[in-house]
């Protein structure tokens, strides 16, 4: 078996094809595998942990495939990119189905308030938060390289993370209040938006991840 450069974790949830196609586009020649095998995740040089749908289902499917410890281990020691629910699952607890996450970060996952939210023109803000919003960078990070502060990324989600330790926050967006959309710690970076669907800015972020050597 040839060495796996990038493992995209497959636990039966979400559109993994978009993630792997975007990675193939930015990293031609790399061995990118979509896998649900813990040993393949463990042996990969880098790990992408995507996710769509509901967090309780994601956690259940992850455990059904015996992936939990391989994910936790990868998140602690090798270049690791969480996307959408793949960010949310890193936290302790979610309001969605009142489920526990992997607990790598202290804090909760909360739902947008919904009915009370309005924009600057007094228009109702919809949930899910769907579309292109501006991402503001709050710390310098190799994964932001070549991306303008305030660049737009594509989102689709109804829940967002609230890290207890604000030092891990790498970026935020407003809807209508500020929420954390990127967290960074050591070898780990995780985002609420979908870089694989965010045109040039998203491809740049994925390219930065593929070339990232965390110290």
């Amino acid at each position: 078996m040839s060495k796996v450069d990038i493992a995209v974790v497959d636990y039966g949830m979400g559109n993994l094809r978009s993630v792997s196609k975007a990675l193939e586009h930015v990293a031609p020649g790399k061995n990118i595998v979509v896998t649900s095998r813990p040993e393949e995740v463990a042996g990969a040089e880098r790990v992408v942990f995507p996710g769509q749908g509901a967090m309780p289902d994601c956690i259940r499917e992850l455990d059904a495939r015996g992936l939990r410890s391989a994910i936790i281990d990868a998140a602690k020691r090798k270049p690791f990119l969480g996307i959408c629910i793949g960010l949310q699952m890193l936290f302790e607890h979610s309001e969605e189905g009142a489920v526990s996450g992997l607990g790598l970060f202290k804090g909760n996952v909360k739902r947008f308030a919904g009915a009370d939210m309005v924009d600057a023109h007094g228009e109702k803000l919809k949930v899910p938060h769907m579309g292109w919003n501006q991402v503001y960078q709050v710390q310098a990070h190799p994964l932001w390289r070549g991306i303008d502060d305030g660049a737009r990324f594509y989102y689709v989600h109804s829940y967002y993370v609230q890290p207890e330790d604000t030092a891990v926050i790498a970026g935020f967006s407003n809807y209508p209040d500020r929420f954390s959309c990127a967290i960074a710690k050591d070898n780990l970076f995780a985002v609420q938006f979908h870089p694989e669907k965010s045109a040039q800015a998203g491809l740049q972020l994925l390219s930065n991840f593929v070339n990232w050597s965390p110290s």
């Binding site: 196609k21 975007a22 803000l125 919809k126 292109w132 967006s173 965010s198």
Partner: protein
């Protein structure tokens, strides 16, 4: 600054080509879908919608092939609709590279399918398309039609929208059949009524003839996204021109 209003070019696909009709009839050829998708991406389209308007079993494989090819070159959200009958159809389209699947006639015939698909793949990828027409003989203003606008259902479009969201629809694509292909503008009262009634985003569709219509769709119709076909396919306007016009009229877009 916050969330941008989206512009979504719509590609009606039949026999592997993009076409455009007037009031759901009289099809004209508008080009190769992959080529058109790339052009719109370069112009700054926020998403693309593909509607398989023949949706016969012969063409099913063709649209999957087109989506696969587009998805390996264009990295923005792709929605695919037309002839989606079973949860398995949703899975096939998502595996081909679609990010969202639009369900129309089947939602009326079998609402449980919307619920099952949202339960399995998540609401974020389930769009319910509502084709509505103004009616005089009902206790409501707009009626839902199916089968590409041929069959009346007796359903109130606004109530139907609420019901679909309760079953898990994450977004609604609202097409005014009275306006489709007419170039006289969206049906803003219809869109406003549905937008106010539900929590999820709505895409306004049907009737765009100029850039002011896009602005009105957002401001008057309360649309979160605006969909158009012919104004872009025949080169009357680029997506970028449309966005610049919207910015001049105080609408936040991604430029």
């Amino acid at each position: 600054m916050g969330l941008a209003k989206r512009i979504i070019p719509c590609l009606d696909v039949t026999n592997g080509r993009v076409v455009k009709g007037v009031n759901f009839l009289e099809l004209r050829d508008a080009g190769d879908p992959v080529e058109i998708a790339r052009r719109y991406d370069e112009q700054g389209a926020d998403e693309l919608t593909f509607l398989d308007i023949t949706a016969s079993s012969d063409n099913r494989g063709l649209i999957l092939h087109i989506i696969e090819e587009v998805a390996s070159q264009v990295f923005i959200p792709l929605t695919v609709g037309g002839g989606v009958r079973e949860v398995e159809d949703v899975r096939r389209l998502l595996n081909a590279g679609a990010d969202k699947v639009s369900i129309n006639t089947t939602a009326v015939l079998n609402p449980g399918m919307v619920q099952a698909a949202a339960g399995r793949f998540g609401s974020q990828c389930i769009v319910v398309a509502i084709d509505a027409k103004k009616v005089e003989n009902q206790p409501f203003e707009w009626e839902v039609f199916t089968h590409g606008g041929r069959n009346a259902t007796g359903l109130d479009a606004v109530k139907w929208a609420e019901y679909m969201v309760s079953l898990g629809a994450g977004e609604l694509l609202v097409t005014s059949m009275d306006r489709d292909g007419t170039k006289i503008g969206f049906n803003n009262p219809l869109n406003r009524a549905i937008s106010n009634a539900v929590e999820v985003p709505i895409i306004a569709s049907g009737g765009v003839g100029n850039l002011q219509h896009l602005v009105d769709g957002v401001k008057e119709g309360g649309a979160d996204a605006v969909l158009a076909a012919s104004i872009f396919h025949y080169g009357e306007y680029t997506v970028r021109q449309a966005k610049e016009y919207m910015v001049q009229h105080g609408i936040e877009v991604r430029l």
